[in-house]
């Protein structure tokens, strides 16, 4: 493995809390043993990591006001935890938490808490299938452990914000979240990545592990709003036990490189997952979503919808795998991926995959790539809508089905104008949508 991450790895080795040190050093060993993926690596066929290979400084703690970063976070009425460049910012975070919810930062964990965290940390992700998982382990100095006690229904969403602000040179940060939703509990978690459009590269290596225990329901949102040179490689790894429900929504605006793996492992009968996503690269941006639903046990259901709009010289990759293991009978799994190309230089590579080892299952997938429907465009124009405005409306309409599925009203209200404006720099054109 080339040593472009050396500074961050050394930093973690000397700064990680003592109880995390075995994780850090094992992670480093594994990372250094592996090779960076190439175009010949099937899972990286369409995504090159050449942009990553530069020396990175370690993210610095900066005391800044959000408005100085010209960032606005959704007004969610949420419990909020904010990190800037990988460092916890108390002044931006709220500390009171409802009964039955425990939120512990790795760096602050007591002996008892760290023992609890260590029980779950790294057990949900399959490290040998994901090269960058070991890098995440190897660069850990902090992270968030969120635990919801059995039976507890958390009324307010819990929002975790990771901001990449500017530094003087290319830098790297590590994000790690571990959620354990206890049996029959119910909670909403919003992961929010935001960044300042900076000239120099920032590389976030992120990893979230979700354990949804029997009968629990987890509403999960992962918003990637960083743009420009803010690279992100990482993913979400979830495990569902019997009758658990995970509703997971993903959004990615583009940046030079974004690669997100979402893996859902069904380990208990009767579990259900709804996985939805939207990706909108433009300019020279690149987004790669690799999703994998591991149906390992019978009687589970999954429904997955991803929509992408790719403009300018941008490129997008979607790989949606559904794996029905032997004996996972009565599984129902559906996947739909639709893409719009809005420029002659844009590119989409999609591969919905089915791997099925049980016969009594209902599985289907569909994928399309096309441009905006000319007849719809024409229809709108005959009704007096300008071509530009009609395009914005139709683009928005293309993803609206997925955005409408966002259950959190305040979040939906925050996202709609943000997305509408993504399709036009002229706010007037999006006025009917926001």
């Amino acid at each position: 493995m080339p040593n472009f991450m050396e500074l961050a790895l050394d930093y973690a080795q000397s700064n990680a809390p003592v109880w995390l040190q075995p994780t850090v050093s094992e992670g480093r060993q594994l990372w250094e043993k592996q090779a960076l993926p190439t175009r010949k690596t099937e899972a990286w066929k369409y995504t090159g990591v050449h942009n990553l290979r530069q020396p990175y400084a370690v993210g610095e703690s900066t005391a800044v006001a959000l408005k100085d970063l010209s960032l606005s976070l959704p007004d969610l009425d949420a419990h909020r935890v904010v990190f800037i460049n990988g460092h916890y910012r108390a002044e931006l975070s709220s500390d009171e938490l409802p009964q039955g919810v425990e939120l512990v930062r790795f760096a602050q964990a007591t002996a008892e808490q760290s023992a609890e965290i260590a029980k779950y940390l790294g057990t949900i992700v399959s490290k040998h299938d994901h090269v960058f998982a070991s890098l995440n382990d190897a660069s850990l100095t902090d992270g968030v452990f969120l635990s919801v006690a059995p039976g507890v229904v958390v009324d307010k969403p819990i929002q975790l914000v990771w901001i990449t602000a500017s530094q003087t040179a290319a830098f790297t940060t590590t994000q790690r979240l571990l959620v354990v939703a206890g049996a029959n509990s119910s909670a909403t978690v919003v992961e929010h990545f935001a960044g300042v459009r900076g000239e120099q590269a920032a590389f976030t290596n992120g990893m979230t592990e979700l354990l949804v225990q029997a009968g629990a329901t987890l509403e999960h949102y992962r918003l990637h709003l960083e743009e420009g040179a803010a690279m992100h490689v990482g993913g979400v790894h979830a495990r569902l036990l019997a009758n658990a429900t995970l509703n997971s929504f993903h959004l990615a605006l583009g940046s030079v490189l974004k690669r997100i793996d979402v893996v859902v492992d069904f380990q208990g009968a009767g579990a259900h997952c709804e996985l939805n996503g939207v990706y909108l690269p433009r300019g020279e941006e690149h987004i790669d979503y690799h999703t994998c639903l591991e149906h390992a046990v019978p009687h589970c259901t999954s429904s997955e919808t991803f929509r992408g709009i790719v403009g300018d010289s941008a490129s997008a990759v979607f790989n949606g795998r559904i794996h029905i293991h032997r004996d996972a009978q009565k599984t129902r799994a559906e996947l739909s991926n639709k893409n719009l190309l809005t420029s002659t230089r844009a590119e989409v590579n999609t591969k919905p995959e089915l791997e099925i080892y049980a016969d009594d299952v209902l599985c289907a997938h569909g994928a399309t790539v096309a441009q905006l429907d000319e007849t719809a465009l024409h229809y709108l124009r005959t009704r007096g809508v300008s071509k530009a405005e009609a395009e914005v409306m139709l683009n928005f309409g293309f993803i609206n089905e997925v955005v409408d599925g966002v259950r959190l009203d305040t979040l939906r209200a925050y996202l709609r104008p943000l997305l509408a404006h993504r399709f036009s720099r002229d706010p007037h054109l999006a006025r009917h949508l926001a």
Binding site: R326, Q329, V348, E355, H365
Partner: protein, 479 residues
């Protein structure tokens, strides 16, 4: 429905599994430059052909066997394979059918392919390839009247060297992949077809391939050239005896459809699939590809029921504007058979169109994968693809996979892909049985219904044959 009934319904014998007692000259196993020279000399080839083979051989030596397909088999020892086998009676080459060994003719009769012209299927010309050599090509004079050339490729090397030099390897280059390189080095025989400008081939052309000798590989090579505005329909059938060891079959098929030409290529592949325990059977590693020029159309239809392992992706390069590519496939695997098959549609020209209909049926403990690529290049303005991939599972120990690669770099191109999986449902069987049909008939009817969209693409008499073949191949899978 009980596993027993299903089993009963699918368990039938491989009907083409007999061995013909024919004395043959077979090269000892192993592959080196001398073997390549031997094969070339055997065919009395000119120097340029030998050089072409040797270059392929050297390329092959440097290449690695592909491992990405969803199939598993013990490593093939390429030194254990014999690369040439010919019936002794063919040594001096028969001048006409009357000189062909009666035992050989009997073999083809037994397979239902009479080679005597008066007995033949009306309107179908047949080239029969037995192990490494072509034994008979029928209706040649009638075809010649229309200007159509239909002959063994070994003969074409002598008779039409300019065409061979120009087109052989032009669609599937020697270094295209491991098996294509191997084939280019040691190919023994196969069919050559040339349809001149504006000619509509007056009859169906077909080739029957038969592996007879033990421990031999078969490496046939087919080249079809359809000149401007011409039209041809070609069908190949394949069978092999039942043997305990695996046998290698690595063929290359190249199609060239010039402007406004149309080539319809149909395959009924029924190589020996091995027994219920997975012993024996053919390794079928085949490269098939066609280039379609302006307004041309290439249509692949395949019914794949045989072989222990299949690795095959008949593809279309849609080079010319408005060209059309089609792929209709039924792949059935039973017992321990494995298939990784599909197609590539490479859209280069404007307004090119492609359709992919793939029906995979898995039974027993078999594994059946569809692997496909649809690529829209930046210049493929207005191109369209529609893909429908359906899998049917029979029994709970089999596997069905779908790996469609979709790549688009043109916003005006439209790609639609859909895939489903299903099983033969208990309710469907019950309805059929309530109406008096037994389980076997019911399953075979349901499976045939599942494959209907593909069968209707086959020439009539072969569609019937394909339906029966499915029925036989499914035996023992109903339970």
């Amino acid at each position: 429905m009980s596993q027993e009934t299903i089993d009963k319904a699918i368990d039938k014998e491989y009907a083409a599994g007999f061995v013909s007692d024919i004395e043959s000259e077979t090269l000892p196993p192993g592959l080196d430059e001398d073997v390549v020279r031997f094969i070339s000399a055997k065919k009395g080839e000119p120097e340029w052909m030998l050089e072409w083979r040797l270059e392929a051989y050297r390329t092959w030596r440097e290449m690695e066997e592909p491992e990405w397909a969803h199939v598993h088999y013990p490593e093939i020892d390429f030194e254990e394979v014999s690369y040439y086998s010919s019936p002794k009676s063919m040594e001096d080459g028969p001048k006409s059918l009357d000189e062909v060994d009666p035992e050989l003719l009997a073999t083809y009769e037994k397979l239902g392919i009479p080679l005597h012209e008066q007995e033949m299927l009306a309107g179908v010309a047949v080239d029969a390839v037995f192990d490494s050599v072509s034994v008979a090509t029928t209706f040649r004079s009638k075809l010649a009247e229309a200007g159509v050339i239909f002959c063994p490729i070994s003969e074409a090397v002598h008779e039409y060297p300019e065409l061979i030099k120009k087109y052989m390897g032009s669609v599937v280059p020697r270094r295209d992949n491991y098996y294509a390189a191997l084939n280019s080095a040691v190919f023994s025989d196969g069919s050559f077809v040339f349809i001149p400008k504006g000619v509509r081939c007056p009859m169906e052309l077909s080739t029957y391939f038969r592996i007879n000798e033990a421990k031999t590989g078969q490496f046939e090579r087919t080249l079809i050239i359809a000149e401007e505005g011409s039209h041809v329909s070609y069908l190949e059938g394949c069978t092999a005896p039942m043997r305990d060891e695996n046998q290698l079959h690595a063929a290359v098929v190249e199609l060239v459809a010039m402007d406004d030409a149309e080539i319809k290529y149909s395959t009924v592949q029924n190589w020996y699939p091995g027994d219920a325990e997975g012993r024996g059977g053919i390794y079928n590693f085949v490269t098939k590809r066609g280039v379609a020029h302006r307004n041309a159309k290439i249509s692949w239809t395949q019914v794949e029921t045989g072989s222990a392992v299949t690795w095959k992706y008949p593809s279309c390069i849609l080079r010319g504007d408005n060209s059309v590519g089609e792929f209709y496939s039924v792949a059935l695997t039973n017992n321990l058979q494995q298939a990784d098959t599909g197609t590539k549609m490479i859209h280069l020209g404007k307004n090119t169109r492609s359709t992919i209909i793939s029906k995979g049926i898995s039974a027993g403990k078999s594994s059946n994968a569809y692997r496909g690529l649809v690529r829209m290049s930046p210049k493929a303005q207005g191109a369209r693809n529609y893909t429908q991939c359906d899998s049917l599972l029979i029994g709970d120990r089999c596997a069905a996979h779908t790996f469609p690669y979709i790549e688009s770099r043109n916003p005006s191109a439209v790609i639609e892909h859909e895939a489903t999986t299903s099983k033969v449902s208990d309710d469907q069987l019950y309805l059929c049985q309530q109406r008096g049909l037994d389980a076997e008939k019911a399953v075979s009817m349901i499976v045939n219904g599942f494959c209907k969209e593909v069968f209707k693409e086959l020439p009539m008499e072969f569609a019937v044959e394909a339906g029966k073949l499915l029925e036989v191949s499914l035996e023992g899978s109903v339970g």
